[in-house]
């Protein structure tokens, strides 16, 4: 069974993502300490809210460096909502620095007719990716956010995987190598969301994990 670590840094609801990954066939470890990441084939960083408090809570649990290393080592990684935003350099929400794995900043959706952007909206892929295998073009997913990351630099176009319209066009999914981030909530997006998470579990299962990273006694957490 493919083990997926879900990072718990006190940022709200983990029940849905835990259950959705289990339904997708994964063994889920809710990780509150760096040691609990050992042995996982994939890492999921969920979360809602602001970047500053989230980074502070990750730091208190000594999880910043392990997460950054995981992403930089190109191991299977899925950031959801705030977890996607944290991949970038900083957030305008509170000026906080984030993980800095991808170039760009998280910015307010200034042109949005209403904020927060809450509800189901079309996710338009700009290229194909196995994360979206079996999901029809422009399928709607559930969003609940006011900020979104804007990739910058020479790789901006290459990392963009999908965009969504809400008064303006924003980047709703990114991917680079084994790393992916989605601004929407697959764990709240019914059948298509479950499909996306199952695709991530399959990608993680197929990824070759360095033997040294597999610890025999990683603790299993409860949701």
């Amino acid at each position: 069974m493919t083990r997926i670590a879900v990072v718990d840094y006190g940022a709200g609801n983990l029940v849905s993502i835990d259950q959705a990954l289990r339904d997708a066939g994964a063994e889920v470890v809710v990780a509150r300490r760096p040691a609990e990441l050992a042995g996982a084939a994939g890492l999921v960083v969920p979360g809602v809210g602001a970047a500053g408090p989230a980074m502070a809570r990750l730091a208190r649990r000594a999880l910043v460096d392990p997460i950054r290393a995981w992403a930089r080592d190109d191991r299977p990684f899925l950031g959801i909502c705030l977890g996607m935003q944290l991949l970038f350099e900083a957030s305008d929400e509170d000026g906080a620095a984030s993980l800095g794995v991808l170039a760009g900043r998280t910015e307010l959706l200034r042109e949005a007719p209403r904020l927060p952007h809450i509800g189901w909206n079309a996710v338009r892929r700009t290229r194909e990716h196995p994360l979206f295998a079996g999901i029809v073009a422009d399928a709607p997913f559930y969003f609940v956010h006011s900020f979104a990351p804007r990739p910058t630099g020479p790789a901006a176009e290459a990392v963009t995987l999908a965009t969504t319209e809400h008064g303006e066009t924003f980047v709703s999914a990114v991917a680079r190598g084994a790393l992916a981030g989605v601004q929407f909530h697959p764990e709240r997006s019914a059948a298509d969301g479950l499909r996306l998470l199952a695709n991530f579990v399959a990608l993680a299962a197929a990824h070759v994990v360095p033997a040294a990273a597999v610890a025999p006694q990683a603790r299993r957490g409860a949701a």
Binding site: N13, V15, S16, Q19, V48, R114, P116, G119, W120
Partner: protein
């Protein structure tokens, strides 16, 4: 384009779904997680639980219901009823809710809205506003209506103007407003679209219409005339007077963007 959400509301009392005219004539309508799962399957865009007993001794039951629902229905869940503190909100979110709706406690101490928004983000904080039309002898007329915020299921007036209260809680950090017309709730006389419009025009956050839905025309009016971003109903879904698919089909035919019901879309 962002779809207008169709949201079934489950009033929960002592662990069961009930529906009457708020606190009177409660009729048992089923097991909350089971009903929520059915609605998710039938195309609900979100589900709202309102714990209308909200007695402290009932908290454990509510959290258990929230968790069982979150594990069975993969659509967003908003939970309201009796949340009085940041810690209580944390417990409800941990159990599997995405948003928490504050009502009486926000009226009693508006700073709760600010503290909850700062801790969990505005997107997780819904303020439920129960409003009643002011009678003519208190400065309101048919042409220039005004509404007063009421609490405890409409049994207690607060003296607050509903539109001013809406602006205030949004300034404090509310990310969404659930606006219920107490005059219309349970009557199937249609949403109070003037109330919805008065509030939607004054705030930037989404407004959820509630109270009075009887048929597809009411949902369309809530969006077109009321400016609502989401439409909520209870009894017409529980009693299967209209399916979510039928409501959405009528809204789509009227040119309102909706998320296709999965089975229908296939």
């Amino acid at each position: 384009m962002l779809a207008v959400r169709v949201v079934p509301c489950l009033d929960v009392a002592n662990g069961r779904v009930v529906k009457g005219t708020r606190f009177v004539d409660l009729v048992d309508e089923g097991d909350p997680p089971q009903l929520a799962e059915r609605y998710a399957r039938e195309g609900a865009d979100e589900i709202v639980f309102l714990d209308i007993t909200a007695a402290p001794e009932g908290r454990g039951t509510l959290l258990d219901i929230v968790e069982r629902t979150a594990r069975r229905a993969f659509v967003p869940l908003t939970v309201g009823g009796g949340v009085r503190s940041v810690l209580e909100m944390r417990d409800v979110l941990r159990a599997g809710a995405d948003k928490v709706s504050l009502n009486t406690a926000a009226v009693a101490g508006p700073d709760l809205v600010r503290r909850c928004a700062r801790r969990f983000g505005s997107q997780a904080v819904v303020v439920a506003i129960d409003a009643r039309r002011r009678p003519a002898d208190r400065g309101a007329t048919q042409e220039t209506p005004a509404w007063e915020v009421v609490v405890k299921g409409g049994r207690e007036d607060t003296g607050l103007d509903a539109v001013a209260w809406a602006e205030r809680v949004v300034a404090l950090g509310a990310g969404e407003l659930l606006v219920t017309s107490i005059d219309r709730d349970g009557t199937q006389a249609g949403y109070d679209t003037a109330l919805l419009r008065a509030i939607a025009d004054r705030v930037r956050v989404p407004v959820v219409a509630s109270g009075g839905a009887a048929g597809p025309a009411d949902f369309i009016a809530a969006v077109r005339e009321g400016g609502a971003s989401a439409v909520l109903a209870a009894s017409i879904f529980h009693r299967r007077q209209h399916s979510i698919a039928a409501i959405k089909a009528a809204m789509a035919a009227a040119g309102i963007p909706v998320r296709a019901v999965p089975e229908v879309a296939a």
